[in-house]
C-alpha cells in the first residue's frame, strides 16, 4: 500500500506577510479605482443635472416671442434662478446679447459647488426674429 505523505506544515509568517501585502496592494488599487469612479459618477450626475437645467431654459426661450427675450437695453444677465437637486444648489444665469435688431445670442450658464470646488457649464445659441 502506498501512503501519500502530506505536508502538514503551516504557512510561515513570511508567507503570510507577503500574501497580506499582495492582498493589501490589490485592495488598495481597487478601492482607489472604486473611489475615483464614484467621484466621477457623482460629478457626472451633477453635470448632467446642470446641462438639463440649462437645456430646459433654452427650450423655454426658443418658444418665446422674439421681442420678449431679454432686456432690450441691458445686454447683461437677464435672469438668475436657483434649484436644489441631489442636495446641491444649481444656479442658472441667462445672458441675452442683442447682436442685431433681429438676432440675439442666448448664453445659459449653470454654476454649482462640488467638493468645495466651483463648477460651471455653459450652452449658447442664436435666435432670429422670424417674420
Amino acid at each position: 500500500m502506498i501512503m501519500i505523505k502530506f505536508n502538514n506544515k503551516g504557512f510561515t509568517y513570511i508567507e503570510l506577510a507577503i500574501a497580506l501585502a499582495i492582498i493589501a496592494f490589490i485592495v488598495l488599487a481597487f478601492s482607489q479605482l472604486f473611489l475615483s469612479t464614484t467621484v466621477s459618477v457623482k460629478s457626472m450626475e451633477f453635470q448632467t443635472l446642470a446641462y438639463n437645467y440649462a437645456g430646459d431654459k433654452m427650450e423655454e426661450i426658443r418658444n418665446e416671442p422674439f421681442a420678449a427675450i431679454g432686456n432690450p437695453w441691458h445686454p447683461a444677465i437677464w435672469e438668475t434662478e436657483s434649484q436644489v437637486q441631489s442636495g446641491t444648489t444649481f444656479t442658472r444665469n441667462v445672458r441675452i446679447d442683442r447682436l442685431e435688431d433681429s438676432l440675439k445670442r442666448v448664453d445659459i450658464e449653470v454654476v454649482w459647488t462640488e467638493g468645495g470646488e466651483n463648477k460651471n457649464i455653459e450652452i449658447s445659441s442664436l435666435i432670429a426674429d422670424k417674420w
Binding site: 469612479t37 457626472m44 445659441s125
Partner: protein, 415 residues
C-alpha cells in the same frame, strides 16, 4: 501511481477561480461605469454642439431675411461655447424655399471634439410687388381699362379713356397712381379717369410751365379729366416713399433657375388647339416661345424666356389662351433676356392669367385680357383696350427679391 481520489486542495483552486471571476466582474463594472460617465460627457458636449448648430440655422434665417441671396458658407462663433458653419441652398427646392445646413462644433471648427449637423427648410415668402402695374420707364393704357391696385412708374404714365383705378379689394387702401419722373406730364390723363375717394396721384414732374404743362406744376397733365374720386394731386412730389422700387425686375432669376425645370434650347412654336401641361415646373425657353390661338394651360407653372433674338416677341400668347374650362391659366410669364423687335412679352386678345407677368424691356397686352396678379417691366408697359388687371397673389410661386412678408419653417431635422 497517482492517487486520483485525493481531492484535497480543490477548495483553494475553486476559491481562487471564484476570486478571479469576481475581480474581473468588479473591474468590468468599474470600467463600464467609467465608460458611461465618459459617454455622458460626450453626450452633453454633443447637446451643446446641437444648440450651436441650431444657432447657425437661426443666423442664416436672419441673413436670408435681410438679403435673400445669402448662401454662405460662413463660420461664426457663438460666444465662447463653440462655432458653426452654415450654408444655404435652393437646389431642388420649391420657389422661396431655402435649405439651410448648419454644423455646430465644440469647442471650435478647427479641432472639434463634438460635431452635430442640422438641416432646416424655411419658406421665406416674398411680398407680391405692392403694385398691380409697375414699369421702370413708362406705362401707357388705352381705353376701357380697370386696374385694381396701384400704378407705379419711374417714367410717364399715359391714361386713355374710361380708365378705372380701384382698390385691389373692398376696404384696401391702394388704387393710386405714382410716378417719379423728372419730365413734364409725368401722369398724362388723356380721357376720363375714374378713381375712388381718398386716393392720390403723385408725380415728381418739374413745376415748370415752359415744359408743356397746363399749370405751372406740370407733373400731372389734364386733371380736369378726372371724373370721380377727387384724388389728392401732388406735383413736384419730393417724398421718398412713393416709389420705393429701384429696379422693377423683381424675380430672383438665380433661384428660379434652381427650381424644378424643363429647358427648351430652341425656339418653340406651339400651334393652335394645343394643351400645354405646366406640371408644377419652370419651363425655360432659351430661344423664345410662341403660343398660337386656342391654347389651354393645364396645371400651374412658370414660362420663362431667358434669351434669344430675331423675332418680334420673346414670349407671345396669341388669342384665346385660358386655363382649363376657359378659366384663368395659373402661369407666370417671365422674359428676362433676349433681343426682340417689338416687345419681350406680347399678350394678344382673350387671355386670362393668374400670375406674374414680368418683362425686361417691354410688355404689351392687347384686348380682352384679364390678369390676376401683377404686370411689371424693366422698361415700358402698353395696355390696349378692355383689359382688367387685378392685383393679387400669384397662383404658382415665383422666387422674388424684396422684403419678406413671412418666414415659415417647413422642416427641421438632424443629419
Amino acid at each position: 501511481m497517482l492517487n486520483i481520489k485525493d481531492e484535497k486542495g480543490i477548495a483553494l483552486v475553486l476559491a481562487l477561480i471564484l476570486l478571479v471571476v469576481l475581480s474581473v466582474l468588479a473591474v468590468a463594472m468599474v470600467f463600464l461605469s467609467r465608460y458611461e460617465t465618459k459617454f455622458s460627457v460626450k453626450e452633453r458636449l454633443s447637446d451643446s454642439a446641437l444648440y450651436i448648430a441650431d444657432g447657425g440655422v437661426e443666423y442664416a434665417i436672419n441673413e436670408l431675411q435681410k438679403d435673400i441671396s445669402y448662401r454662405g458658407p460662413e463660420t461664426n462663433s457663438v460666444g465662447n461655447a463653440g462655432q458653426f458653419t452654415v450654408s444655404v441652398s435652393t437646389q431642388e427646392q420649391p420657389a422661396n424655399h431655402y435649405a439651410i445646413t448648419s454644423t455646430g462644433y465644440v469647442p471650435d471648427a478647427t479641432n472639434p471634439q463634438e460635431t452635430r449637423t442640422v438641416t432646416c427648410v424655411v419658406n421665406i415668402v416674398q411680398g407680391t410687388p405692392p403694385f398691380a402695374v409697375g414699369a421702370k420707364e413708362g406705362i401707357t393704357v388705352a381705353s376701357n381699362i380697370t386696374v385694381r391696385g396701384d400704378l407705379r412708374s419711374d417714367g410717364q404714365i399715359v391714361l386713355g379713356s374710361n380708365v378705372f383705378i380701384e382698390p385691389s379689394e373692398p376696404g384696401a387702401s391702394d388704387g393710386s397712381i405714382y410716378t417719379s419722373t423728372g419730365m413734364a406730364k409725368g401722369v398724362y390723363i388723356t380721357g376720363n379717369l375714374y378713381m375712388q375717394p381718398g386716393r392720390e396721384i403723385r408725380s415728381r414732374g418739374p413745376t415748370n410751365a415752359s415744359q408743356g404743362g397746363d399749370t405751372p406744376a406740370t407733373g400731372i397733365y389734364q386733371e380736369s379729366k378726372i371724373k370721380s374720386g377727387n384724388p389728392l394731386i401732388v406735383e413736384g412730389d419730393t417724398s421718398g416713399d412713393t416709389n420705393p422700387i429701384g429696379s422693377y425686375n423683381s424675380v430672383d432669376l438665380g433661384a428660379l433657375d434652381n427650381m424644378d425645370k424643363v429647358v427648351y434650347d430652341e425656339f418653340k412654336d406651339y400651334t393652335s388647339n394645343e394643351t400645354f401641361n405646366l406640371d408644377g415646373k419652370v419651363h425655360k425657353f432659351t430661344q423664345g416661345v410662341r403660343f398660337s390661338s386656342n391654347i389651354t394651360f393645364e396645371g400651374e407653372g412658370t414660362i420663362w424666356v431667358s434669351g434669344g433674338s430675331g423675332r418680334n416677341y420673346g414670349l407671345e400668347l396669341c388669342s384665346n389662351v385660358f386655363g382649363p374650362d376657359g378659366g384663368y391659366a395659373s402661369v407666370n410669364l417671365i422674359c428676362s433676356g433676349g433681343t426682340w423687335n417689338e416687345a419681350d412679352i406680347k399678350i394678344n386678345s382673350n387671355v386670362k392669367i393668374n400670375g406674374l407677368i414680368s418683362g425686361q424691356t417691354e410688355v404689351d397686352a392687347n384686348s380682352n385680357v384679364q390678369i390676376n396678379g401683377v404686370i411689371e417691366s424693366g422698361g415700358t408697359i402698353n395696355v390696349n383696350s378692355n383689359v382688367t388687371i387685378q392685383w393679387g397673389e400669384f397662383g404658382f410661386q415665383v422666387p422674388m427679391t424684396g422684403s419678406p412678408t413671412a418666414t415659415i419653417v417647413r422642416s427641421w431635422q438632424e443629419l
